[in-house]
């Protein structure tokens, strides 16, 4: 098989190294005692202390988490309801408007939202961020859930109605359990996308609502470098844990 050849393995290893070496060096340099980026001045936890003592980092973190949770809740709930109920009232064909939001570069989405908010004089802040992130979220939730929902045998739904269940009961007891893995997957997806989102958050930040990526960007622009390393390292570790947890849960579920 071509994949067993040495040059293939060499190439793939090279690509993985390409993907990981910058990140690993970044994490290594979070322990740099020195002030400036590429001068290694000794091992030190100094910057970790600075970051943990920094009020701004804490605020950015809580903002990010809050916005992410709200975006997940809103998009997953609205998305699940849409996916189940849309075929029942003929609005299925409108699904296109959700798919388009993925096809548009985020900067255009962000700029148009910004334009509308400034026209309506809505103060930019957590709410505007949540609104934007939910739009992003819906763009991911609806395709994922739709795909999963199509796999549901429609005869199951019919059987449920025949047995006298209302649509709501069918939704809760038949559709949701079936959609559950996709619900969790899309929730996780939206959560991480919201946490990592930069372009939309950058254009729509308002009073005291820097999210982590925007905060990182402003730190980089200000040249306050080693703090960026620390925060990035912590974020990478956090997402590793979340993804690892998710894979573990998935594998447990499959083997039980």
């Amino acid at each position: 098989m071509i994949t067993r050849t040495w040059y293939m393995k060499f190439f793939v290893t090279g690509v993985y190294a390409f993907l990981y070496i910058p990140l690993l060096i970044l994490m290594l340099f979070s322990f740099n005692a020195g002030m400036y980026v590429t001068d290694w001045a000794g091992f030190s936890l100094h910057w970790y202390q600075v970051v943990f003592a920094s009020l701004e980092t804490y605020t950015a973190l809580t903002n990010s988490l809050f916005v992410a949770c709200c975006a997940v809740l809103l998009s997953v709930c609205m998305g699940a309801l849409y996916v189940f109920y849309a075929p029942l009232c003929g609005l299925r064909s409108l699904a296109g408007i959700f798919y388009i939001s993925l096809a548009i570069p985020e900067i255009i989405l962000a700029a148009s939202l910004l334009g509308m908010f400034s026209m309506l004089c809505v103060p930019l802040g957590l709410l505007t961020l949540i609104i934007g992130h939910t739009i992003l979220g819906l763009g991911y939730v609806i395709p994922v859930l739709s795909a999963r929902f199509e796999e549901l045998d429609s005869t199951l739904l019919e059987a449920s109605y025949d047995l006298g269940a209302t649509k709501w009961q069918t939704f809760i007891y038949v559709a949701l359990p079936f959609l559950a893995p996709s619900l969790i997957a899309s929730a996780l997806l939206v959560f991480i996308i919201s946490l990592d989102d930069f372009i939309l958050s950058f254009l729509c930040t308002g009073a005291s609502t820097q999210t982590l990526p925007v905060y990182l960007f402003s730190l980089i622009r200000a040249g306050a470098n080693s703090m960026v390393n620390v925060i990035s390292t912590l974020m990478v570790l956090a997402s590793t844990c979340i993804v690892a947890l998710f894979s573990w849960v998935e594998s447990r579920r499959r083997h039980v």
Binding site: Y16, P22, I25, V37, A111, M116, I131, L195, D196, P213
Partner: protein, 285 residues
């Protein structure tokens, strides 16, 4: 009456998502279009003008759009060339290795974009990894200035978008029936022929998704040229950002946004047509 309302429950529950999308996605886009025809950003509907478009149909703006197209296309193609073998490799791996490799690819995917860009400083700076290797091995006497040029920008873009491509390709390649490959080999095809006639056509959907998933965001990118490119060139993303940062220029910004969107849509359409033509030629052969 009660029955009527109960009958309309589906509508009640479907409408939030639709309304949300309309209010916060469709309407802002419409507003942008309207704004692009205004002469002042304050009150729409007062003064319709084509001036914004005139100020945007300049040589300089065209260069910006072309530059973004070039960057996005090269990023997408590079990601494809590098990513396809990797996705193919993972798809044909044993189950044990596969989950580990997929996990390792998704990690950078979950990592925050700014972090990914920033990590490249440690590679290309004067005291960075590349220069350290060059100096230590004696190839160069003095360090190269690698940061802040457009090649670096392209490398960093490829780095950031590679996981997207690999995952898109993998999703499709994983579903490939391996028996088809075996059958093809049994029928006497060389590995290259199997690849060209069996694997590639069957994975065209993944290639399409991957290319779009890289091309479209890469077109609107602005952080990388600012951080890694020394802000020497404007791309579509940074231009839009600049225009929208000043209220007085938002209407020109809207015109530019519409212009770039049209060009983006046209490019994607052309690219998809091209891909379809390629696919057909493969099928025919």
């Amino acid at each position: 009456m009660r029955e009527l309302i109960q009958k309309e429950f589906p509508f009640l529950f479907t409408i939030p998502a639709v309304l949300w999308q309309m209010l916060f996605f469709c309407i802002p886009l419409v507003l942008i279009v309207v704004l692009s025809f205004q002469s002042s950003p304050v009150i729409p509907g007062i003064a319709w003008t084509l001036d914004n478009y005139r100020s945007v149909f300049t040589h300089a703006h065209a260069i910006i759009i072309v530059r973004s197209l070039v960057l996005a296309t090269s990023t997408a193609l590079l990601c494809l060339i590098i990513g396809y073998p990797v996705a193919y490799f993972i798809a044909l791996c044993t189950e044990r290795w596969r989950s580990l490799l997929v996990f390792l690819v998704t990690l950078p995917f979950w990592t925050n974009f700014i972090t990914l860009v920033y990590s490249w400083f440690f590679i290309v700076e004067k005291n960075g990894l590349i220069n350290k290797i060059l100096l230590w091995s004696g190839i160069m006497q003095r360090p190269l200035v690698l940061a802040y040029n457009q090649i670096t920008v392209m490398c960093v873009m490829t780095y950031c978008f590679l996981p997207f491509m690999i995952i898109s390709l993998y999703t499709v390649l994983e579903k490939l029936d391996k028996r088809l490959l075996e059958a093809s080999a049994d029928l006497g095809a060389t590995p290259w022929q199997t690849f060209m006639r069996v694997t590639l056509p069957l994975s065209i959907a993944g290639i399409k998704t991957g290319l779009l998933l890289v091309f479209i965001p890469a077109f609107g990118e602005f952080a990388v040229p600012i951080i890694m490119g020394g802000s020497r060139y404007l791309y579509v993303g940074s231009t839009i950002m600049h225009y929208f940062m000043h209220r007085a220029s938002q209407h020109s910004g809207a015109a530019f946004t519409i212009l770039s969107s049209i060009i983006l849509a046209l490019s994607v359409y052309v690219a998809l047509l091209y891909l379809k033509a390629l696919y057909n030629t493969f099928k025919r052969r």
